[in-house]
Amino acid sequence: MNYQFEFGWLFEYYPQIVKGIGITIQLIAVGALAGISLGIVCAWVRALGPAWLKPVVAAYVELIRNTPFLIQLFFIFFGLPSLGLQLSELQAANLAMIVNLGAYSSEIIRAGIQATPKGQFEAGASLAMTPFETFRHVVLVPSLQRIWPALSSQVVIVMLGSAVVSQIAAEDLTFAANFIQSRTFRAFEAYFISTAVYLILAILLRQVLGMVGWFIFPRRAAR
């Protein structure tokens, strides 16, 4: 072990890293928000929605959960242009992450909904709420609260999985590390820094999700 660490290139290349961190954060912010929303809609369809829509959503969830994320990304970026839908690499990355998180989170949220005691639905009905109002006010929030830790983990997994979007030239944090590595040949240092940044981002993301949970589940203290 006589490897000499050399971080002199940081002064020249740190804007790349900062830009990469910005894009990774943007990707996960959009991906988490839209992905969880999509997940809630899909979970509602599969648990309580109209019968004709259930197989459609089930097919979508099975398709996404049983294919690699990288292939989904390539399909959107390289494949869809042949069908006339040309997306930039950032749009493609956002869409891939939304679609991916939507499928995984719908299964997690569905578990929360199905664990709701039948009495809750009956209580909603006895208060003259429509099924949708019951879902919105009585079922959804406690369900989310139940599965929030699992959902948070899934969001972190998707954030870490976003590293592969550098394959379609989206200039995220991994792209910055690869770029610096190919220019300076300081591979160990470049990946050392990107590893540290990913670790910090993942811990921060978990904290943020914890705080979000604390705000949207005000009845937590009463439980």
């Binding site: 390539f74 970026f77 390289f78 494949g79 242009p81 042949s82 040309q86 690499e89 550098s166 394959q167 379609i168 030239a169 792209f175 690869n178 770029f179 190919s182 220019r183």
Partner: protein
């Protein structure tokens, strides 16, 4: 002790090499007397040299070797080499010529001689016919795909205007896919890669817009062989004039020879 032994060994080796070059004083005479010319060719570098369906080597370099043998009225003996051992094969007199997509540089010129250029090898910007650019400055505002870290990436980054959008892909396949799916307007790559795309006959045809870096291929031969060098250069010049070489380029690279070759 060790250093004295080393000295003796080195003297012996120098003498052997010295005699070796004396022995091949007239390579052209040897080739004619033998009736065969031994040519080092690649077998792992399409389209210059690869193994065909019948296990025989095929490619641009093999056609070139056959052409030279034909003009010298001798039989050809193809010797498969790798890029690492092609020059040692020539130095140790295992072959008469190296036709193995060999580029010229000062280090190599110290140990072997080079013929005139016989094949184009360059990096350039390629795009369909409706893409207009004749020099790097005209790339301003356009989207160019390139393979990250390749020579053409480094060169293009240097010469392209600041507002050129350069998309860097992980490997040649990514760059090619991005070009064919219309994610980038043009690609900066080697003529060999462009030829590989053209061979698939795609809807978007990558045509050369301008050169980024040019390092054509030369035939390598032993030092101090003026008769053989003159003969080989004569064959190359004649093949350029009568269109034989252009036909080989069309066959393997899918394009005409560039005018500067």
């Amino acid at each position: 002790m060790i250093s004295r032994r080393l000295f003796v060994a080195m003297t012996a080796m120098a003498a052997a090499i010295g005699f070796g070059s004396v022995a091949q004083a007239d390579a052209l005479g040897d080739i004619t007397a033998r009736g065969t010319i031994r040519v080092a060719v690649p077998q792992d570098f399409p389209p210059f040299g690869s193994v065909g369906p019948d296990m025989a080597p095929v490619g641009y370099d093999i056609d070139m070797a056959n052409l030279i043998a034909e003009k010298l009225s001798v039989k050809v003996e193809l010797v498969p080499v790798t890029s690492a051992n092609r020059i040692p094969y020539l130095q140790t007199n295992k072959v008469d010529l190296v036709i193995s997509s060999l580029g010229k540089n000062p280090d190599r010129e110290k140990v072997i001689d080079f013929s005139a250029a016989y094949a184009p090898f360059y990096n350039g910007v390629f795009a369909p016919a409706d893409f207009v650019a004749t020099k790097p400055e005209e790339l301003a505002g356009k989207t160019i795909g390139v393979t990250r870290g390749a020579v053409e990436d480094l060169e293009l980054t240097k010469v392209a205007p600041a507002d050129t959008v350069i998309k860097r892909y992980e490997d040649n396949n990514g760059t090619i896919s991005a070009f064919l799916s219309g994610q980038v307007e043009a690609v900066a790559t080697g003529n060999v890669v462009a030829a590989a795309i053209l061979a698939k006959n795609p809807p978007k045809r990558p045509e050369l817009k301008f050169l980024i870096k040019n390092s054509p291929c030369y035939i390598g031969l032993s030092k101090e062989q003026p008769a053989l060098l003159e003969k080989v250069n004569g064959i190359i010049a004649a093949a350029k004039t009568d269109g034989t070489l252009n036909a080989i380029a069309q066959k393997w690279l899918g394009t005409d020879l560039p005018a500067e070759l």
